[in-house]
């Protein structure tokens, strides 16, 4: 027989353990020798009455743990078996760890919650506001449950006129998620403007229908705002996270959905009163302003104002008249002076005194004897009439 090396043997064992049988196992056992190493990795053993297996949970996995395991805890470890070759030890490489009693539902819950949260389904920005006064409240729940009775009781107490449409659904068991989704779908086609989806208290398993992924997506896609009302105050379901509003209980959901009719009525009434008071004040203020105006001289004695204006007009007319007369006189006197001057310059007057104007045949006035020659015809204009003469002779330098 040909011997093999330790390493070869270890590798053979390692590859034998890679068999799917040893992969993705859920192992239940008690924690012992627990060490949370400074590297962040967790080393421990899982044991029961007869056996023990080494286990390791690396930091990348254990930082998601919602609890810190300790010796003596009974846990469920999900992981795969492998060999740590340097020591030749097989061990459980743990991926997920949760205390016993918190079953797979819890695991699924946490995983689904993380997934939907990462998708943004819980984003506050996508939550729809609830109507202040709903036209009709849709209630998706079991028609025989206490939750429905509580909801109806609170709804009608707060607002006796509220319209309610109940969409019956199974709220627990395997068919519950599909039943709830169907009811939610039916509600979309109605005039309900807010929906309550929920049920009364129960165990984690009983509430698990509200942790259904498809239901969560249907709630997120609802065109009508959805209020979740599942179980008690301490119960949280996926539906609570994805709903537009989470109510701690079904009764609380009813309170959140419908306002106190009396409160709203009082609010509307008080607005009406304030409206009237404000308008009265406004009119009062305007009236006082008007009264003030009426008291002013102008409005109190309109004739006074008119008389004042009339007087002013008279004044203007008078002064206008004065100016005109004055101007006229001035112009008249200046005209007289010019006329006198004109008169003295007129040749007619000179002619009248016996002077005559002598001009040549072309009509040029003669001022010098040199302008004509003997025998030329000249015209002599007298005060009255004209002489046509002929020059007989000239005396050029008469000392006249």
């Amino acid at each position: 027989m040909q011997p093999i090396t330790v390493s070869e043997l270890t590798r053979m064992i390692s590859s034998a353990l890679a068999d799917p049988v040893f992969q993705n196992l859920a192992v239940i056992g008690e924690v012992s020798n627990f060490v949370h190493h400074s590297s962040g990795h967790m080393y421990f053993s899982l044991k029961d009455a007869h056996s023990r297996i080494k286990a390791v949970m690396f930091r990348s996995r254990n930082r998601l743990l919602k609890f810190l395991p300790k010796n003596g805890d009974t846990v469920i470890a999900v992981g795969s078996v492998g060999v740590y070759e340097p020591n030749g030890e097989y061990q459980l490489y743990v991926e997920v760890l949760f205390p016993q009693g918190i079953g797979e539902l819890h695991l699924a819950f946490e995983q689904l919650k993380a997934k939907l949260e990462a998708e943004g389904l819980f984003d506050p920005a996508r939550k729809k506001p609830l109507p202040l006064l709903p036209r009709r409240v849709g209630v998706i729940t079991s028609p025989s449950g206490a939750a429905l009775r509580d909801i109806l009781h609170v709804l009608t107490r707060r607002h006796p006129g509220v319209n309610v449409l109940v969409f019956p659904a199974l709220v627990q068991g395997e068919e519950a998620p599909a039943s709830l989704r169907h009811a939610l779908e039916l509600a979309q086609g109605t005039d309900c403007d807010v929906l309550i989806i929920g049920r009364g208290g129960g165990s984690f398993e009983e509430l698990s229908a509200f942790n259904d992924e498809q239901l969560a997506r249907a709630i997120a896609q609802s065109a009508i705002p959805v209020v979740s009302a599942v179980g008690h105050e301490t119960d949280f379901t996926i539906a609570d996270f994805v709903a537009d509003l989470r109510a701690p209980t079904p009764s609380a959901a009813a309170e959140l959905v419908v306002p106190l009719q009396s409160e709203l009525r009082a609010a509307v009434g008080s607005y009406g009163v304030r409206l009237a008071a404000a308008l009265r004040r406004k009119i009062g203020a305007e009236r006082r302003f008007l009264a003030q105006l009426t008291k002013s001289a102008a409005l109190k004695r309109p004739d006074f104002m008119v008389n004042q204006l009339r007087q002013r007009v008279d004044d203007l007319v008078t002064s206008l008249g004065l100016h005109t007369t004055h101007n006229l006189a001035l112009r008249r006197s200046r005209l007289g002076t010019f006329a006198g001057k004109l008169e003295t310059l007129s040749p007619l007057k000179t002619l009248a005194r016996g002077y005559a104007i002598c001009s040549d045949e072309e009509g040029r006035v003669l001022r010098s004897a040199e302008q004509v020659s003997s025998g030329d015809a000249v015209n002599v204009t007298l005060y009255q009439g004209r002489l046509v003469c002929r020059v007989e002779g000239r005396v050029l330098h008469d000392g006249a």
């Binding site: 109507p131 202040l132 009608t156 006129g161 509307v268 304030r274 409206l275 308008l279 004040r281 305007e286």
Partner: protein, 77 residues
Amino acid sequence: MTEPNAQELKFEEALARLEEIVRLLEQGESTLDESLTLFEEGVKLARFCSNKLDEAEGKIEIMIKEGQIQPLEVAEE
């Protein structure tokens, strides 16, 4: 303004506008004409809200299956 329409106007919108009108009127900065218009609108809104609150049909119904609705008898405790 146009008459508040029950189909178009939501209760909360009407109440919000009414609140705004009351505030505007109380500030008293509008002209008398504007004040009167606001008042008129406010009165209509108040009446609309009041009517909405009084719409007391109080129908409690249950949808047996799609499109089939019947009244639901509620047993009081």
